[in-house]
Symmetry: C2
Subunit: 344 residues, 2 copies
Amino acid sequence: MNDTFLKACRGEKTDYTPIWIMRQAGRYLKEYKAVRAEAGDFLTLCKTPELAAKVTHQPIDMFGLDAAILFSDILVVNEAMGQDLKFYEARGPVIENPVRTRKDLDRLRVPDAEDELSYVMETIKLLRRDLKVPLIGFSGAPFTLATYAIEGGSSKNFLNTKRMMYQNPALYADLMDKLTDSVQAYLAAQIRAGAQVVQIFDSWVGVLDPSDFVEFELPYVARIVAGLKKEFGKKVPIIYFANNSASLLREVKKTKADVIGIDWRIDMADAVKQIGKRFAVQGNLDPLALFLPPDKIRERVADILRKAKPLRGHVFNLGHGVVPETPVEGVRAVVDAVHELSGK
Amino acid sequence: MNDTFLKACRGEKTDYTPIWIMRQAGRYLKEYKAVRAEAGDFLTLCKTPELAAKVTHQPIDMFGLDAAILFSDILVVNEAMGQDLKFYEARGPVIENPVRTRKDLDRLRVPDAEDELSYVMETIKLLRRDLKVPLIGFSGAPFTLATYAIEGGSSKNFLNTKRMMYQNPALYADLMDKLTDSVQAYLAAQIRAGAQVVQIFDSWVGVLDPSDFVEFELPYVARIVAGLKKEFGKKVPIIYFANNSASLLREVKKTKADVIGIDWRIDMADAVKQIGKRFAVQGNLDPLALFLPPDKIRERVADILRKAKPLRGHVFNLGHGVVPETPVEGVRAVVDAVHELSGK
């Protein structure tokens, strides 16, 4: 068992810098596309444990990554809560019954994750049988799930979400409470099923100004972290990835997550200065930098590794998910560069 | 003539804090929609000086704003350079002949702005006849115009743009040179026609990490600023609005623009710390905050004004354009709050 990633998350000394890649099981791999075609559609792939486990495995051996991440989608929580979820090739995810009123909210429930998301737990159990690297479970963060719950899909301005925050804060708070309870129970179930680390993905939190982050998201994420810490102690590290969070990092630390995931927009040296030495940090190469020639990828990796040195722990990752058009050689180049330059 | 805005841009003492609002002439006003309907479509509105001047005027008297901004669109430059531009209600702008190869680039020319964008100059001249507040001219920044030129429209990952930057930097540099020359000539023509301040809009620059900003955008913006300063001296202030730039501000200063426009994601106190006292700053209320009740808008305005106090000059604005669904009362509330709280 390669436990370098676990050690880095806990801030313990490691022999080299571990790396995994957001969306490492994904459309940039023809092997993934073959399984996806076999499943028929994206949601069926998420809900078929054998296939989900299969795609989770694919990039691990191919590239020598230091952690696996459960193949799933953040929106399965919204679906289990009672929202009608569909994925369209062009439009992306669509929720047919968005939350706009108290009545809409009353129809959503906190799901019994072990039961209603049993396919996720089964995937985790399958994976733990033969994975040689740690397994990361994950969930969307409450704010990010709220944007989908309210907007009914992707959004440009998050108009409906912010309108609810600003004009009906009581309804927003009640929705966030329900989402927070759901996320906490879901992550706890994943840990009980075998997830060794969990990541909370906050893809859209970067649209909040710092005061709104403090009022409308921080308390909920902090509650999830505290709840999981109470139940599982220090043995399961928690990663909080706040996308587009350069202006939020001082507040992000208050979630008390063990690992702060950062996006590519911020220079690592700047992030280290803001986050300080009590946390491990995960990141942060621009996913599009994988289109660079290998020697240039190597230069950027060296720069990030050097700047991350003062940290308590560093997990190398991209600053967001790898994009479908990414050349496989770029993925190989970043993994090799991280390992070679950090002394593996 | 109300010159409070000009003074604030120059860092001179003002009696109160001036305010204007990005997209202040826009779809949130029924009066605008009436003129737009009269024009038929958006581009025709931009190209009909009488109508463009009419919508530019609308919000000034209605709200008592301290500056007017030419009604136009950043993509008229791409069109004048030889790109086929269309606006679709749902999809937004589309350029039918994007730049992907050297041949595509060779077909684009640096337009003679006075001639090929004469409708803009005419609008400016019309406006200067009777405006009682300063008139802002504007252009898109080279990188932002390049994303449209290369992607052919809006984009999620800016895949084609970054691919060109990373895989064909010589072609990217030549495109940027052409765009930079076009923008500089266009802004110079606007100033000669009567624009008293110019703003460079960098809507998409926030997708660049700091090192890419330094390599792929900063030199071009700096060249435009230096060129305009050489031609017009200090009398025409230049505003550089870099959207989503919390992690770029220390580099943004190197453009030497007089006024740094900031988006809403960063706390004003943090921006002041990074930008320092040699620049004026413009911003930065979240456009969606105009959906708040008036007393809450007032609280946020007070907070920004207080934090902006140490600055050499402060121009109040939103942190991005006002959105079409915005209640007119919200716009009125922010203008009144800025004026009252800053001592008008």
